[in-house]
């Protein structure tokens, strides 16, 4: 009979991994490292091609106000994608949140109402997906059109100013700290830190990874998968409402079409950040870096003298490229 327990010393022999791809850290963070490398390469390219732009603070101040508007949603969306779901309705939810904010017409209450509206739409998305079993892509495409339509109908297509919120709330969300740093940036960093803790140091995050990896296993081991799945949609809804309000305050005007252009850069940030479309994998750090890479593409290509009309082409290529990389890594590494 074969005796398996030969290791009387109780010491595990640790042979080195056979190839680079087998290193646990490479397997876990390889895609993120790739994103980081890409960020560096792009920055060097831009800094060399348009040094007068990229070696001055102004462009970074500008990025710090624009990137969080999609980045904050991308961070929450990262959780959804890790749970092996997708939400494409966040653009409309940005408009719903912003509309609720201006419709209330009182800054503090408006902020609360806007966030609550986003939370509500997110919860509804989650319930449609989890309780009614509708695949999340289809469910949120429906909700994307539905809520965009509701906002257009409700506003009659007309915008509104945000002068009512001048002062505390405007400064809180989009003020300039020390005259330079846009408040959106610390908001994004703060949200990133909170979500990192949630994802890596809390049961909620542990369960999010497990559900994305193998929902059935998670359920058999007592994870309340339905709750977690609904909660990640609620998180995106709330984040989208906040981003919508910030977008509105940044331009001092509410457009009923707020968020309609958010889809591409947000989704691109999540996938470029190394979060797996196959679920179970993804990092907050990757999404933060990728959001800035995505945000830098448009000013970058304009500053080096190309046409800004190429922006969408590059976003699209980045999404597909990132997904091909993921598919490759999944096949090689498993």
């Amino acid at each position: 009979m074969t005796v398996v327990r030969t290791d009387a010393s109780g010491v595990l022999p640790r042979r080195g991994p056979k190839s680079f791809l087998e290193l646990a850290s490479v397997r876990r963070y390889g895609l993120q490292a790739g994103t980081f490398a890409m960020a560096l390469v792009l920055w060097i390219l831009f800094a060399v091609g348009a040094s007068e732009t990229w070696l001055h603070f102004d462009i970074y101040s500008s990025l710090m106000s624009t990137v969080p508007l999609t980045g904050i949603v991308a961070l929450a969306l990262t959780m959804v994608v890790i749970a092996r779901e997708i939400d494409v309705s966040f653009g409309s939810v940005m408009a719903v949140g912003a509309w609720a904010f201006v419709a209330v017409g009182q800054p503090e209450l408006g902020l609360v109402a806007g966030l609550a509206a986003g939370l509500g739409v997110g919860l509804l998305n989650g319930i449609i997906v989890v309780r009614f079993g509708v695949p999340s892509l289809v469910a949120t495409i429906g909700s994307w059109f539905f809520w965009a339509g509701i906002v257009l109908y409700g506003t009659g297509g007309k915008g509104a100013g945000t002068d009512f919120a001048a002062g505390f709330v405007t400064n809180l969300v989009t003020g300039r700290i020390g005259g330079y740093v846009p408040a959106e940036f610390p908001w994004m960093l703060g949200i990133a830190i909170v979500l990192w803790v949630l994802l890596n140091r809390h049961r909620f995050g542990a369960h999010t990874y497990l559900i994305g990896d193998n929902e059935q296993s998670a359920r058999m081991m007592g994870v309340r998968t339905d709750r977690v799945r609904i909660a990640v949609f609620a998180l995106v809804g709330t984040a989208a409402a906040f981003a919508g309000i910030a977008t509105t305050l940044e331009s001092n005007y509410f457009w009923p079409t707020t968020g309609s252009g958010a889809m591409l850069p947000t989704v691109a940030a999540v996938f470029l950040g190394g979060t797996s479309i196959f679920g179970g994998r993804g990092t907050i750090f990757g999404t933060v870096v990728a959001a800035f890479v995505i945000g830098a593409i448009e000013p970058g290509i304009v500053s080096i003298g190309w046409t800004g009309l190429l922006t969408q082409v590059i976003y699209g290529a980045v999404i597909v490229g990132a997904l091909i990389m993921q598919a490759y890594v999944v096949r090689r590494v498993r």
């Binding site: 009979m1 074969t2 005796v3 398996v4 327990r5 030969t6 290791d7 109780g10 595990l12 022999p13 640790r14 042979r15 080195g16 991994p17 087998e22 646990a24 397997r27 803790v197 890596n200 140091r201 809390h202 049961r203 542990a206 369960h207 990874y209 497990l210 990896d213 193998n214 059935q216 296993s217 998670a218 058999m220 081991m221 007592g222 994870v223 179970g280 994998r281 498993r334």
Partner: protein, 258 residues
């Protein structure tokens, strides 16, 4: 037949699903620190029986007695609290997650702040690997992906996890299915580990050699009834095969005690 050393006693369990009788008046016991085999054809009622023990189904009639406490039926939650753990065929593992996250799946340990005790869970996983799993074949650490492990190792992880959470009765549902010969040997070693740890086990397997080798007592289920039971130590594998052929034809063991 029930004695005071019995861990689990099922008495007169019947269960029907929409007019189809899955179990009919099934009575059996599992002793403390005993490995009991459950043997029977597909559809004989093994799965239903297991689901009643683990609280997924409530029996139509009969009682479940656990350490002298009688229950009309169990819930999944209650069964777990009592110390009944099932290792499912699919092993309920998450392939892309590190070993330690799998060990603590659904039962993550937290600090007083409500945050995950990552260091503690890693350390306990490491201890488990040294003391129970004795992984020697390759570089496995608590950070290793479960998906990179062999079938036997994965089975070991699932069993170790059950024991780690103080399971007194580990139910193994076809643990060797789809495993190579070497991996099967490894899995049987892990089953012996359950016995060594002083716990009990219900072992379900279609492979008569595995059942004969590992089980102290085997209960044969046939068409929803207990056809009988035998002790592998008292008969050879060949006699056993003959007996089972007899069961298939008559529904009873030749000279059955059941």
């Amino acid at each position: 037949m029930a004695t005071n050393t019995d861990l689990l006693e099922l008495d007169g369990i019947s269960k029907s699903f929409g007019g189809v009788r899955a179990l009919h008046d099934v009575s059996l016991t599992v002793g403390a620190n005993e490995i009991v085999g459950l043997f029977g054809d597909n559809g004989a009622g093994k799965s239903t029986l297991i689901k009643i023990v683990t609280g997924f189904h409530a029996p139509d009639s009969g009682t479940i007695t656990w350490k002298g406490r009688r229950f009309e039926h169990l819930t999944v939650q209650r069964a777990r609290e009592l110390g009944i753990e099932t290792v499912y065929q699919e092993r309920a593992l998450a392939d892309q997650q590190p070993l330690w996250r799998n060990v603590f799946m659904g039962r993550e340990r937290t600090t007083r702040l409500g945050l995950l005790d990552v260091a503690g869970m890693r350390a306990e996983t490491e201890k488990l690997m040294l003391e129970f799993l004795r992984f020697t074949s390759k570089a496995v650490t608590p950070e290793s992906f479960v998906g990179s492990m062999s079938g036997g190792e994965r089975q070991g992880v699932a069993i170790a996890r059950a024991l780690h959470f103080e399971a007194e009765l580990v139910i193994l549902d076809e643990p060797t299915m789809g495993l190579s010969l070497t991996e099967t040997r490894k899995t049987l070693e892990f089953v012996r580990g359950i016995k060594d740890a002083g716990r009990s086990c219900i072992f379900i397997d279609h492979n008569i050699f595995n059942v004969h080798e590992i089980c102290e007592r085997v209960i044969v289920i046939d068409r929803g009834r207990v056809a009988g039971e035998f002790r592998p130590s008292e008969m050879s594998v060949h006699e056993l095969v003959e007996q089972l052929r007899h069961v298939a034809e008559t529904g009873m063991l030749a000279g059955a005690r059941g």
